[in-house]
Amino acid sequence: MEEYPEELRTPPVSLVALFGYAELHASITKYLHSQQPPINALAFPDFSQISLLLAHDDQISRTSSFRDPLSVSDSASPIPSRCGGILKRDWLLKHRTKVPALVAAFFPSHHIFGDPTQWLQVCSDLDSLKSVIRPKNIKLVVVVVQSSPHEDISDDRLVALRKRAELDSKYVLFFNSSIVSELTLSLSRLASAFAELALSYYREEGRRIKSRIEKRSSNSLDLNVRYCFKVAVYAEFRRDWGEALKFYEDAYHSLHEMIGTSTRLPAIQRLVEIKIIAEQLHFKISTLLLHGGKLIEAVTWFHQHKTSYEKVVGSTEFIFLHWDWMSRQFLVFAELLETSSATGQSLTSSNQGTAEISLTEFEFYPAYYYQLAAHYLKDKKSALELLLSMSEIAQEIDSSSASITPSVYVGQFAQLLEKGEAITLHSITDEEYTRYTISEAKRVQDSLQIIAWLKRSYESFTNLKAQRMAALCAFEVAREYFDLADPNNAKFFFDIAANLYRQEGWVTLLWEVLGYLRECSRNLDALKDFVEFSLEMVALPVTSYENSGNLRNKNYGPGGPATISGRESIHQEVFTLVCREAELLSSTEGSGFKLATDSPLHLEIDLVSPLRPVLLASVAFHDQMIKPHALCSFTLSLLSHLPLPVEIDHLEVQFNQSTCNFVIRNSQRPLWASASNTVKSGSQVENAPLLVLVPNNWLRLTYAIKSEQSGKLECLSVLAKLGPLFTICSRAESPAAMEDLPVWKHENRVESLPTKDPVLAVFGQKATQVDEPEPQVDVSLGASGPALVGEDFAMPIVVTSKGHAVYSGELKINLVDVGGGGLFSPREAEPFSLESHHVEICGIDGAEGNNESESETGSIKKIQQSFGLVSVPYLKEGESWSCKLEIKWHRPKPVMLFVSLGYLPHGSEANTQKVHIHKSLQIEGKMPLLISNRFMLPYRRDHLLLNRIKPAPDSEDVSSLPLNEKSVLVVSAKNCSEIALKLVSMSIEFDDEQGETSCLIQQGGGCGDSPSSANLAPGEEFKKVFTVIPTTRTPKLGLGSIHLKWRREGGNITEAYVSTKHKLPEVNVEASPLVMSLDSPPYAILGEPFTYAVRICNQTQLLQEAKFGLADAQSFVLSGSHSNTVSVLPKSEHVLSYKLVPLTCGEQQLPKITLTSARYAAEFQPSAVASSVFVFPSAPQAEKAISTSK
């Protein structure tokens, strides 16, 4: 677009000429430029320069006379008449910079309204102006410059001025420059008048030209195009874009009709003229459409423009002219799209194109047009090269075409000749013109232009996320660089294209790109890159057997067509180059690479390398866990997609534990001197009968290795040696996690598994885990059942040496609460537990062992009650040492015992690390005996205890005992552990002396009858009876504690007894106000009467009223009072007596009596046991019973 002149690239603006009053021109010109639309101004200082305007007019007259058909024969004209054209080159520029639309004449006011001499001068100047501008219909404005607003204005003179200038009154303006506000107002009036008159001028001019079109005064298409063009330009001057667009299009269509019909010029030049003017017209149309925001219409117009002219080729011999023109169309439109702001807006429209032409997405972006511009430029370049190669007059072109220059008319060329001082233009023949064009074309660097435009297209497509179009542009750029012998830049852009083709698996396109990359590497003397690109090409899944003829290979890159034979030939070329032997060195010099004989070539293939199809290594361990020093089997599988078999000299399998590395050597291959150096002296060497990679078949090798070190054992890589100087290192992969090869995964072929075992193929891993070695020293904790609260629990700890000796042994012992907290819990502390810890280490006894260990027991250090540190003496291999850990529980809870042994396996080596063995054991602490107790009140003697009737508010669940009465206390001890216990003794002892004076406790049954000891099985219960006689009245009477002596059953007889105390609960001792007793014989005899008496004893100082009731019993005949109310005197006793005769034998219930105390509202009711009596049938039976009782 920069090639176009500025008057064509920018819209035209109005032009005015200013005469007189030069001091005002600067401000007026500046103000006119700031208008919208702006107005250009030509400044003439005074009226004496009217002749300059006249000079332009002379040129116009000459041009006008030239266009007159009657003046064609005028030989005096410097331009030959037979060289007429369609558009004059300078017409547009002239109307923008030389021919004004109006002239403004500035006169001071005193010249008009003052002296008659000055008035005559004004009239003379006006007459001169009118004579110049009237023939061209240029407008006139007279400006009267006032120095002050108070100057006198003569109406008569003003009227005379208007008549003289032949102007309307509104075009005689007053300009006042003395005051700023007046100046601004004057400038505004001036600009408004200028714009109005300019508009009028351009409208009249357009109408004048338009009338010629309508009259069709001439049938010439040339004139029609010219007239339409002028009308369009005048419309642009008036900012009438619609009319301008219409007439540009009319001109375009008329011009198109001239193809094949015009005979004014020779054939080639005629077509060139038409196409160049069509180009400019289309440029105008596109500019107007795009600046108006009509993107779709602009693209549609371009489509029509391209369609109209792409077949108008002209001479096939000089077809490069056509390609050059086509390229320029696309380039200019691309640049217009880039500079237009309508690109982003119109794409939101849902309607694209018209019903006749369907537009696609890319046609709205500059990238598409840049790409095609480059494409057509390549066609031009090819055509030109072809023409030059066949031309026989190439040498004569430069000299003879030096004087040819563009002619007066657009699209025409002429030859400049000098005859003396005069310069004349002569028309040229087509032959001369073609020589000129060839000469011009040779000077242009087409390749650089192609690269520049393709780069812009590449960048634009990249921004559009059209990566495939971008890759194609990159490929084209790279090819241009390749043709320019610039391998560095070519390689860069080839890589861009290759990456996308690899990713999407477009093998045919990738083959083409890699072919170029090989040649770039060859030219750059980069052997490694050359080999890599070659191997990648060879390993592509090209399965076509087609082989086109040699004549057609010119359409392919250096790699040729993608065929199997092509793969094979490149394969042989590369392996001959890199796997050469010493005797073949001379023959490989021809490949272009000059290498030193000892220069190795090493290729790395990782998981994302494009060379994975060349050598794919899969490693699967047969076991996921192995023991140290044990043989571990694994399968190494190699796969290659090279088209020909490849023989490997040796393989080096590398692990993360380097001691496991080993080499697999091909026994049929010679042992190179350099190969021996690569094999480490300590590496394991295996011989394989055959190491040949067959195409698309797995080479499976199974080996076993031994690992000394624990932890992860992983196969890292497999290094293949091919010849003396070539190695390929492939990263090992697990069959379970092996990715598909991107370029091979879409091929429809039979795929085999890397291992024969399907399980390994699915789950196989290249890594395995080596277990830790078994410890050589054993620490055992001999737990002997749950611990019992109160005893000294013995925990044997045995340290046994199995594999080696023990030096500097040290045992660390820890007691940890299982619940996570400390052993001491303040909230749960109980009064009887005086110790601060619930579980503590009492001591460590090292009783066993040799004499040396006995002497070292003094070094036991007990830091805390829950931590211990013991030194272990030296132990030889096979020896053992033990100690006993004594732990005492004060509360039943579980604890965790941690024992850690740290020792040195070798005492003499200082750098040897200390070995640690950890053991832990959870020990449950349980209560051995569960103590419970209950009270039994006296038999058939009921006491009224007020605490039972109305318990005190602050009293707890406390038993109540009557004062000075004998009660029975039954104490039970239940074995709730899991082992048998031996209860030695059970006794009650008072805690203090006060208890002895306030209570009397005796062992029931006599001491002689009590067993000395009792064996309690798990769950068994032992009971003992005591009698309690409280002698002191107190709410809380302490009865002391139960003392138990016990030990484990079956233990050592010498073991001491365990003594534990269990506190008895306190009791409430109170005096009973009323006591009811039942007196009845121990038995009865059928038919014989006996006395049944109820005694009511009042032990208070008050009179007690008692109400009693006696129920009947069917087994007895009763005599006595059934119900009554009696009064018992203080400190006295009242007796209710009844005579009963039993009627039935056996255990019988006596009549039930109920006694109610009126004062205390308490009711006495004997229990069923107390109210029963046995009835014998006869007296002899009674004799036997008495003897039995005795």
Binding site: L347, T348, S350, N351, Q352, S358, T360, E361, F362, E363, Y368, L372, H375, Y376, F461, A466, Q467, R468, M469, A471, L472, F475, E504, G505, W506, V507, T508, L509, E512, E546, S548, R552, K554, N555, Y556, P561, K745, H746, E747, N748
Partner: protein, 140 residues
């Protein structure tokens, strides 16, 4: 004249490309088919902008090149059919009819129990059927 037909998988990998011209055009046609995938992606990702109705398999003219016109067709399984023709006055109805027949042939080919989905189509019957379809439309 139909010069090339292609089947492209859902990962934009070529499954079948056949050119019906001399061998020297094969590479250029590969490039054209490959670049047309950009337009297909654009239309699929922006259906409103391109004016294509949803669920419409026929994508219409993808983009014009210098001497060819490229048409696209998208199946429910994201497999793309691409047609490259040198005819400049192609009617949409004819292209739709072609793609419908081509789709039927493709369905027959992938219904083969020995065909692995996602792999290249190597069926000779499919190739013959495609040649017949192309031949019948080339004569029009």
């Amino acid at each position: 004249m139909i010069v090339c037909v292609a089947v492209v998988g859902h990962q934009n990998n070529p499954l079948y490309i056949q050119s019906f011209t001399d061998a020297d055009d094969a590479l250029k046609l590969h490039h054209i088919v490959h670049c047309s995938l950009d337009v297909i992606e654009e239309r699929v990702n922006n259906p409103k902008k391109s004016g294509t109705t949803l669920n419409e398999a026929f994508l219409g003219l993808l983009y014009p090149t210098v001497n060819y016109k490229v048409y696209g067709y998208l199946t429910n399984t994201k497999v793309k059919f691409i047609l490259v023709t040198t005819d400049l006055d192609v009617r949409d109805t004819d292209v739709r009819s072609f793609f419908r027949k081509f789709h039927a042939a493709y369905v027959d080919a992938v219904s083969n129990p020995f065909h692995v989905p996602g792999k290249k189509i190597t069926s000779r019957t499919f190739a013959q059927t495609v040649s017949n379809i192309v031949g019948s439309y080339g004569l029009n």
